[in-house]
Subunit: 190 residues, 4 copies
């Protein structure tokens, strides 16, 4: 089985932007499932868990700043369950795709990753754009519909269909995203 | 007014791939309008006309090869009206976005282009992906719905909405895409 | 005068790698001058000061981690005088060029920067490689020889000649790198 | 043995630029050896032969144009022995690195190439810059000194040392660049 990386996109969000309320409703419906998938991925030796998060235009912001600002925002309840574990790669991004202006492609190749599991927000924006960039770089794509949040449900559904039909993405629920663990691994890689 | 580049995407197509028939129907409905817009753009001193076309996996193919193969395909009637003028930049591409693995970004910046007018096929695939890449690189986007062709009309419409809503694209008919010519320019730039 | 960005490359270094001793000697000879130039750039409204630093393969490392590890290394005396001001953009990099896998190009264009002032280490490696990437992206280049450190002095000199001759870089001492300040600016931009 | 790609850089040159005379002298000394290596690479099933050549700012130029202009230049004797075989990938480039604004990285990965053999001109410019870009993308590098041409011999030698020392390049004569053929292959791959 090809090595998998789970990518968590833009979940550190103060939820104070336009459409934040609408988005918050969608995130509320996935955050528990996503938190569970993050925990399972983090335990696995054969899965890389990688956070990629917008810096919201502040290039001096540290990882701690981004965490603190998200927790101090309007929806800490949507942030706490999905905080990045301390030992996880954390890549700041500056535009919509998780690949643009980041080291994500380099990291995936250095780790021997062939398949990416895309989660987070927003389905019809950063998730879709990241899927596109993964696809043209020839990574296989999985997207669990119960771990991505949309602003506009119809566009979110269209985005999922585009990924499935035109990017050969596997659109499967979180419960079926990770391959069965080969063994009960006591510790984590690296 | 910012300098505009009209990008013609993937119109050299032998129409022998999966979904070619369905796509051909959509292309048939735009090819006359697109041919007219290409002619107007080509006449203008203040508009760059740039073709970006897939090499269909043949990295040894020349521009002449791609033209000849499209004309020898199943729908030469959809190719002839939109052939690239001899003096137009012609960039081979290898994946779905017109920016990936091409010199398009460099060319646009070297020409001082700030706004791209995206045309061609397929609305919900290469046109959408090229719009995304233009958007994150901060180019303004225009898309004339009467000059882009879809395979799946519903996904094509969703793609146009995504461009309009999430990439600030101006979705306007071909007749209103180019600014009024400042003057009757006898010759062409360069 | 075009907007300038001063780039400080890889100065957060624990100096425990191969050639660290040799490099340390060269850094010792520039660190005071570089510290002064950083201070002057930081004061200026019309100059962007940007740190780009290797993450040394640790994608979970925060900015604070990188600072702490450098200070806990073998040459804190070479780190303290050039620590990044808290409000400075700080971009982690993963390979040798400051542009590869980082948001540097995006940030420079977003700020309207046309000219980069390259400083730090190693002259014949990351500084040269960053100069190359700046050059092909059409940024003007300045390199103060008294603010870059080499491992091999002869290769460092060859690198400076390559930048000067083949990348049109201005190789001028730190004292002459920044244009005269237009006015005594009390505060800083942003 | 990892799959190898031989890259021929900028050998289609009309030799009418600044320094062309000086460069021509150096090219004259390598062109026979380079022609031989191209022929051997072209015969091999396990080696990809790829031309990457500047378009000299003409984005409408076809492959045939670039060949014809080089042959009509001041040194057709330096062009004829190294013309691209008809079935070879041919990538136009627009700046100094063979990777920037081209599909080279994509092509190498799609072919499973892990090692690049860099040849052509100019050692201390496009060859060095392409080596840098190959290196940060984690391709192994070989450079035969008898198949690269310099404008300034001392900078050419410094460039070779940089590649050897800082990019782990194997600097070995053309005669030892290609691994022994596994078998007498009657035909060519693809």
């Amino acid at each position: 089985m090809a090595r998998v990386a789970m990518i968590v996109i833009d979940m550190l969000n103060p939820y104070r932007h336009q459409d934040a309320e609408r988005l918050g409703g969608s995130v509320a419906s996935i955050v528990k499932e996503l938190g569970g998938l993050i925990a399972r991925a983090h335990e696995r030796d054969d899965v890389d868990l990688i956070y990629v998060n917008d810096n919201y235009g502040d290039f001096a912001a540290t990882r701690e700043d981004l965490v603190a600002r998200a927790l101090a925002g309007d929806r800490p309840d949507l942030v706490e369950p999905v905080l990045p574990p301390r030992d996880c790669p954390f890549l700041p991004k500056v535009r919509h795709s998780a690949f643009y202006g980041t080291s994500l492609e380099y990291l995936l190749r250095a780790q021997g990753v062939e398949s990416v599991l895309l989660t987070g927000q927003v389905t019809e924006q950063c998730v879709l754009y990241s899927a596109l960039d993964a696809y043209i770089r020839q990574f296989a794509i999985m997207v669990p519909p119960d771990c991505v949040a949309a602003i506009h449900p119809d566009l979110g559904r269209a985005a999922l269909r585009m990924m499935e039909r035109n990017m050969s993405a596997r659109v499967v629920p979180a419960a079926r995203c990770l391959p069965p663990a080969a063994r009960s691994s006591a510790g984590r890689r690296r």
